[in-house]
Symmetry: C2
Subunit: 334 residues, 2 copies
Amino acid sequence: MSEHVVITVDAVGGDLGSGPMLEGTLLALEADPDLEVILCGPAEVVEPFAANHDRVRAQVTTQAIEMGEHPAHAVRRKKDSSIVVGCRLVKEGQAQGFFSPGSTGACLAAATLVMGRIKGVSRPAMATILPSPVKPVVMCDVGANADCKPAYLVQFAQMASIYAEKVIGIESPTCALLNIGEEEAKGSQFAQETHALMKEQLPNFIGNCEGRDLLDCKADVVVTDGFTGNVSLKTIEGVASVLFDSLKKIMKSSPAAMLGALAMKKGLAELKDLTSADTYGGAPMLGVKGACLVGHGSSNATAVKNGILMTAKCVRLDVSGLIAQAVKKPAADE
Amino acid sequence: MSEHVVITVDAVGGDLGSGPMLEGTLLALEADPDLEVILCGPAEVVEPFAANHDRVRAQVTTQAIEMGEHPAHAVRRKKDSSIVVGCRLVKEGQAQGFFSPGSTGACLAAATLVMGRIKGVSRPAMATILPSPVKPVVMCDVGANADCKPAYLVQFAQMASIYAEKVIGIESPTCALLNIGEEEAKGSQFAQETHALMKEQLPNFIGNCEGRDLLDCKADVVVTDGFTGNVSLKTIEGVASVLFDSLKKIMKSSPAAMLGALAMKKGLAELKDLTSADTYGGAPMLGVKGACLVGHGSSNATAVKNGILMTAKCVRLDVSGLIAQAVKKPAADE
């Protein structure tokens, strides 16, 4: 952790305003003495903060990309938005990584268009660690590419396996294809073709997994197209949220239940942490030149801290360089 | 509930053997005095049971379709299997509906090939009520058609809306498309085309919904292709199972927690029921000539009872006839 790293941070992308971004930045700087942050955002937010804190520089931006905007259009038009500027400073070598809790689509577009795609990578993809209380499972793609070809998923597996091994620390990670049955011949035409290609090209491929396996998966890396990945990731989040809400009601239903809840408080808080997106702080965009992590829109200070530290970790472990080495073959459709 | 109905029941399809099937049949007969059951299975299972119980006939079958077999091949080859015979008796008019906890794929194949598709229906599809503690949401397709065209999903919405209104009792059900964003232009090419077609053709269409909405959805019916539907349904089941397991551990972690768990016992049991597939007993195959419900492989006696009663309900409410009326236009690809 000793290498000096500069991370650009989008100070205004989150749903909760700049408060958690600034607080999270401070927490990250405290935790990592070799970290420097360039805060991108409006002058009134970033300048006073940079003036009052060491290892923080202000990069004033004058535009903002809203949640509803068409990502690629917004990135092309709003060159002075915090997201585009954050990525540009990485491209120019002033920083090595970018963290934002902002519009996922805009971050993906900016990372691809501004930082640029690694040579040989067909499609950059978004990975995430699934919020499981059982074990860490990396899923990729979780939303960058709604339409995919089988060859893309082979690369998603390669890129996510590097992330799982280097950043998460899973030794010799195995990978599986998300499908609707365990047998090779199951699934859509696309899933069957992808299975055949993964089997042929990936030594660490161990077959299909199903939706019910995601949180307790025999594989360390699960690959899928960005449509299915996004639906299943959000399904996990939705189910956990509904169940925790129901549980809360049960716990408030009687004085005895309330006392009981008190006795379980620590365990439940741990479970909630493990099923929360905040623990890891962000989803990495794999396949672009530089580190780029996107947090939840509702990231709190802890999530922001974890996201910034994770971005720095990706830089120090040279995830992009390792992906560039792994993806030697010509890309599927260039 | 007064109309006399005959249901064929697959006595041997479940993972737990014939025990829950026979017990569940008895419970269903007790609950519904106008119900008659034809039990399909090996002589040693069905004959003694039929001899000892009123309103039960035995239909001896000599073959069994195993879980791993290719569904359509198995259905064509094993003409004397409980699944094929159960569907054939409906086709011949000896019964009006079929219930099985057996191989979903084989049941789908048998219902389509043996009972036959309703004229005008492009693809029969499987619907299910999502295991939500908040409200009933019908999802379709959950696995019958891994590869779909946009027009199929329009029919899935029509068929599932009939099921939601008549069988589940939801007044004027609304429907949504499962997608990866709320906006019209979001999602894969397929999702965008489907959205446009649904908007044009379905008066009860209210737009996209996302994975995180499934258990607490603004729409009553959610349509998707069978691949995405199957992945998300199994994801819901998997997340609920992992969270309940984690909760169980927390509740056993200390004497105080155990006491607390006792105080919440009733609420937790209700929550578990609501998030269990057993409550509704089975997933209807919509678009075939006759009622066909498929239960979970691990259906217990209660699930079997509910599945048989639900099948009888589909018969009495003439779901197939209503679907035939609704699907007047020529099918998309005939």
